[in-house]
């Protein structure tokens, strides 16, 4: 096992973590500001990926495809917020879980109806494909590096939006006291729709970016959704910083565990059983990580009150 392999896997973990952050940011924002638990977030990720795949097939432009993923997911998010979600803010979590689960059924089956069960393909554009040589002689795919870069730029933008802009102040104020911010003349329902659309757009972007590595298909959002939940539970619900730390932690743990656990077991077991034991344990590793963190801090790393 060489140093280069370890560094490569750390970059893979970073890329996965950045993706998870884009998913988790929307979830945690919506929960923090509106107290809403949204299971349909994975459906918006899927909408983004499908929009990107279609636009890429029409126009051949990857940049346009990414733009389409943002627009389509934001539009779907805003529509869902206006039609369904806004009736759920004052309900208990049970109703929210059920209604957003129902939305998943509608979105998944609707997409299957329109596009069929076969996956669509979204190709990495030629100018982003192929490896680059990093300092130290590591060959790494340019596209994955681009994902990391886009993710970090978006994350910085999000931090800036929340911490420095007027709308960010309103969002944070809505988080602590929605009556007060409404009394100050902010149209709270418009604000909520905006926040929801923003979270949706981030999820859609993540879907499009990942769609070029994996295939674009119905149900693709759900495994990611569960991981995003793990991320925000680890980070502390409502905290963007927690989502960032949690996402990187989960991304690195999952990637490194998957590669190195089987090898670790291989040191003292026969190869075949080491691979299977290592792989099963690796697939559970992040949940074990979550359980351990919650044992120490029941409301997550950066969570205030639960």
């Amino acid at each position: 096992m060489s140093l280069i392999l370890i560094l490569e896997q750390i970059l893979n973990g970073l890329q996965f973590g950045v993706m998870l952050f884009l998913m988790a940011a929307g979830l945690t924002l919506v929960f923090g500001v509106m107290g809403l638990i949204n299971l349909a977030h994975g459906a918006l990720y899927m909408v983004g990926a499908f929009a990107a795949a279609i636009v890429a097939a029409w126009t051949g432009s990857f940049v346009l495809a990414l733009a389409a993923s943002l627009v389509a997911a934001a539009a779907a998010g805003a529509l869902v917020e206006l039609l369904v979600i806004r009736k759920l803010y004052d309900r208990d979590h049970l109703d929210q879980v059920l209604a957003t689960f129902a939305l998943i059924l509608v979105f998944s089956e609707g997409t299957r109806w329109i596009f069929g069960s076969f996956p669509l393909f979204l190709d990495v554009p030629s100018y982003l494909s192929g490896p680059v040589t990093l300092p130290g002689g590591i060959q790494y795919p340019l596209y994955r590096l681009t994902i990391i870069a886009i993710g970090l730029v978006v994350a910085t933008g999000l931090f800036w939006l929340i911490a420095r802009t007027r709308i960010g102040i309103q969002i944070r104020a809505g988080e602590s006291d929605r009556e007060m911010i409404a009394a100050l003349g902010v149209d709270i329902s418009v604000l909520y729709t905006l926040v929801f659309a923003l979270g949706a757009a981030l999820a859609g972007l993540a879907g499009a970016l990942v769609g070029a590595i994996q295939s674009v298909q119905v149900g693709m959002g759900e495994p990611v959704l569960i991981l995003a939940f793990v991320v925000i539970v680890i980070g502390g619900i409502g905290s963007i910083k927690g989502a960032m730390v949690g996402a990187l932690l989960v991304g690195l743990t999952d990637t490194l565990g998957g590669v190195f656990l089987p090898r670790l077991f291989g040191l003292f077991m026969e190869p075949a059983s080491a691979t299977s034991v290592g792989a099963s344990l690796a697939s559970m590793l992040i949940y074990i990580l979550m359980a351990v963190i919650l044992l120490v801090r029941p409301s997550g790393l950066y969570g205030g009150q639960s």
Binding site: F31, I37, V84, L94, A102, L105, I226, F229, S276, S299
Partner: protein, 327 residues
């Protein structure tokens, strides 16, 4: 209250009459459908103890359903191949006897519920929902990567397991087994709700501080309820696997958790017969909408949205007319 009792009696009688009629009319498929309703209702009765009485929104009950299923699959597969389950430190053989399988299924899912509950109940509200969801997924991915028992493809057994004195391959006889277990679980659940334990559990849902003031620890109550709830759902899982003679990671997926929750909520949360009515409606919808369109889940989703948004209290709530009545 009178109306709800009447409805309950009607539902449980109907669930018995339909297969009996189907048997005389020689329609085995209808019996299988009714068996599915009884088993899924049993899973819902399990969840309803945590969800309805205890107010614990567990989105990970598929874990227990699946553990029950795998308990059946593993024991039966070993019995089928004559391979002992383990040889050290003592010889343990597989089995195809239902009562023994049920015991193992119930005990192992109760144990899992104890571990998962003990960790998850340290948190509450949305954290609890997500943690139970994550634990469910943990087991789901474990089952997928566990190649010794079929991994992603699942595990089939050739012949349905045996019950002393009955022929379980006859659809009606297997239905009756499931029906009797469902009735016992309903009876147990009703007793539990009225026992001091159930009352304290319901009180902890309504006002935690008061329960603590009286000197009862809500954590212990909830953990006990969670374990009972997991055990009943695990038993349902073993029966479900036996019905299909097949178990796969799908039983553990969070979609299954969502569906079990749907049964409870369509029927009415905290209502004794909520899960029965919910499961029956779900299976009927699946069957008839599935016949109309391949994309029936769109309609299911739409219907579910309508119920959540406009018909709170589920079907029993809509019929018997009271917002919350626990029993």
């Amino acid at each position: 209250m009178g109306r709800e009792r009447l409805l309950n009696a009607g539902v449980i009688l109907l669930l018995l009459m339909v297969p009996l009629w189907a048997w005389s009319a020689d329609e085995p498929f209808l019996i299988t459908l009714a068996t599915k309703v009884a088993i899924l209702a049993l899973a819902g009765v399990g969840l309803n103890i945590a969800l309805g009485i205890g107010g614990l929104v567990s989105l990970g009950h598929a874990a227990f359903f699946g553990i029950g299923g795998y308990a059946m699959g593993i024991l039966a597969a070993h019995a089928q191949n004559y391979e002992p389950l383990m040889q050290w430190p003592m010889l343990v053989e597989g089995t195809n006897q239902m009562p023994l399988i049920w015991l193992v299924a119930t005990a192992s899912s109760a144990l899992a519920a104890l571990v998962i509950g003990a960790l998850s109940l340290r948190t509450s509200g949305v954290y609890f929902i997500m943690i139970t969801l994550a634990f469910g997924q943990m087991l789901y991915y474990f089952a997928i990567s566990w190649s010794a028992y079929g991994g992603e493809d699942g595990l089939s057994i050739w012949v349905r397991n045996e019950f002393p004195g009955l022929n379980t391959l006859v659809p009606l006889q297997f239905f009756l087994i499931c029906y009797v277990i469902l009735c016992l679980a309903l009876w147990f659940s009703a007793r539990l709700a009225h026992a001091p334990f159930g009352l304290a559990l319901a009180a902890a849902r309504q006002c935690e501080a008061r329960v603590e003031t009286v000197g009862i620890t809500p954590y212990k109550l909830r953990l006990t309820a969670f374990v009972i709830s997991g055990a009943i759902t695990g038993l349902a899982g073993a029966l479900f696997a036996d019905l299909n003679r097949f178990v796969s990671p799908t039983m553990l997926s969070w979609h299954t958790s969502g569906e079990i929750m749907i049964f409870v909520i369509i029927g009415g949360v905290g209502r004794l017969f909520g899960p029965v009515i919910g499961a029956a409606l779900f299976i009927l919808l699946e069957h008839f909408l599935g016949g109309i369109s391949d994309y029936w889940q769109i309609y299911l989703g739409g219907l579910l949205l309508m119920i959540v948004l406009y018909a709170r209290g589920g079907i029993i709530g809509a019929i018997s007319g009271r917002e919350v009545a626990h029993d």
